[in-house]
Amino acid sequence: MATEYSDNEMMAISAGRFIKNGDIVFAGTGVSMLAATAAKRIYAPKAVIFFETGGIDPSLDEIPMAVSDLRVMSGTCLNSGLIEAFSIVGHRKLHTIAFLGAAQIDKYGNLNTTSIGYYHRPKTRFSGSGGACDVASFASGVITFMQHEKRRFVEKLDYLTSVGWYKGGDSRRRLGLVRGGALAVVTNLGVMRFDDITKEMYLDEYYPGVSIEKIIENTGFEIDVSRARQALPPTEDELMILRNEVDPQRLICKA
């Protein structure tokens, strides 16, 4: 009988599987922190986790609750600052993968973390770009975590904070962004990827127990499901490491 697991655990493991040895992983807070740490402990021990605040390769004996958390400064190889951190994200000799979250996403993987409604007097204001716009501009690839809801997967963003594939095709390159783009979207229902040519989002994996129809229903634009396959559930080993080593206080796993 399979072990029970939470959405956050499935998402962290799905995202973590993208990470390879040698990758430099730009982690945010919450599930992205979980995913980055899990990736390093399970799949890619030679990946390096770092934070936009400047902490590089911390020991992460406790899970940080913010990218400025004192825990991202402890046991690092280098404590620097924001300028250094962002110049790492964009460094041409490094393969950098960024984990982001967003309030809205469109079919080209562009993200909104700024506001809903009229920009100057929004219905809902969010935190703003932070480093999201920067890493979306510079990283070799971006993996976005989303709650899979129709109001979040939208035809048109209220505000384009962070560029994914922009208007699809080669439009991102034509903007002057020399590399990167949206690599995957990991939600509580499945994993989306982007077509090599059109750069439109398609369903790659749906989680065990989730139907393709449910994903279509919860996506606010038409999504190609022709390539969809069921995701592998987390293994016992994966869950054990996640729970015992990565987040022993269960600060994020539980949610």
């Binding site: 605040t53 406790e62 991202v72 404590n79 300028i83 920067d134």
Partner: protein, 325 residues
């Protein structure tokens, strides 16, 4: 070439520092980042002195920004991120103020804001980046044309140009430098010679300090000249950039300070629960800011038991096993 009195003209109380340097309408840069090393003691004193119309410039800011906005001290804001980590993914008074149209604001990204401080520190009028190409950060101006005519406000939010060293099409964003009136930073150590040492991550504090006309440094400890000069590779700012030095232990509470204390989860959770309600937020200010006459009183209000709980392990830099839920 020094003596213990080198900084006697810069050492002062928090009230004097704020009174002397911060005016209605001042442009201030906030040091720290979300829940770490926020200049809380200065923020509280600004509120107590009922300073108005501040123009705040920052990258990712949390607690200090939020109480300043909530207390009505802020008129104008240039910012990349308003959040308190897990304790408020979007800062509560910040969110409310923007939704209600209470403040003038303009959005940039963290790197953009950091580069703007760097440009100010390097004394160059602008700095290029590729960050933001294609985003609405480039298309949405936050400030009106009237605001743009005012002092310390850039004439344009940014400017896109062709890279003159490339023969192909190659767009670059130019960001205007920031030179705030005052930078506020909270640090671990200031030497008796005035040298500043930040431990752990520096965020954009050093660039902010160098970009500003006036720098107010609050610190956990004043340490001997011999200590701070024993390893100058570690130091962050030379004395001549610093205008006011205030020794105020736990001056970043409820945000954390690497090597000294962690963020205070109880206080941040309490704040999260009350900040959205105008009445309860006012009570909070009355209790924690207006009603506090001395810093000792503030420390007593936190309580010795909590100070011990958040006390950092001096080797690891944070409070091991702290209940952070």
């Amino acid at each position: 070439m020094g003596n213990d009195m080198e900084i006697s003209d810069k050492l002062m109380g928090i009230d004097t520092a704020v009174k002397r340097f911060i005016k209605d309408g001042s442009q201030i840069a906030l040091g720290g980042f979300t829940v770490v090393r926020n200049p809380m003691a200065v923020a509280y004193e600004i509120i107590r002195q009922r300073i108005k119309d501040l123009h705040v410039v920052c990258h990712s800011h949390g607690q200090a920004l939020d109480v300043l906005i909530g207390a009505g001290c802020v008129k104008r804001l240039e910012i990349a991120y308003g959040g308190n980590g897990r304790y408020a993914p979007t800062c509560i008074r910040f969110k409310k103020a923007i939704q209600q149209g209470d403040i003038e604001f303009e959005d940039y990204s963290n790197y953009q804001m950091s580069l703007r401080f760097l440009a100010g520190a390097l004394n160059i009028p602008f700095i290029p980046t590729k960050s933001g190409l294609g985003s609405d950060l480039l298309t949405h101006e936050g400030f009106s044309e009237d605001i743009r005519k005012q002092k310390k406000v850039a004439r344009k939010k940014l400017s896109v140009m062709q890279n003159p060293f490339s023969e192909e099409e190659d767009n670059v964003v130019l960001l205007p430098a920031l030179n705030p009136d005052i930078a506020l930073i909270h640090v671990q150590y200031v030497g008796e010679d005035g040298t500043v040492r930040i431990k752990g991550l520096t965020f954009a504090d050093i660039e902010q300090a160098k970009s500003a006309d006036v720098v107010i440094v609050t610190c956990e400890e004043i340490v001997p000249r011999s200590f701070i000069r024993m390893d100058p590779d570690q130091n962050s700012l030379p004395p001549f950039f610093v205008d006011a030095i205030v020794k105020i232990p736990y001056g970043a509470h409820p945000t954390g300070c690497y090597g000294f204390y962690d963020y205070d989860p109880k206080h941040l959770n309490y704040y999260k629960n009350i900040a959205g309600d105008d009445g309860r937020f006012k009570e909070y200010l009355n209790e924690w800011v207006y009603g506090v006459r001395t810093h000792e009183e503030y420390l007593n209000k936190i309580g010795a038991d909590m100070l011990m709980k958040i006390k950092a392990n001096p080797v690891l830099g944070y409070a091991v096993g702290l209940d952070r839920k």
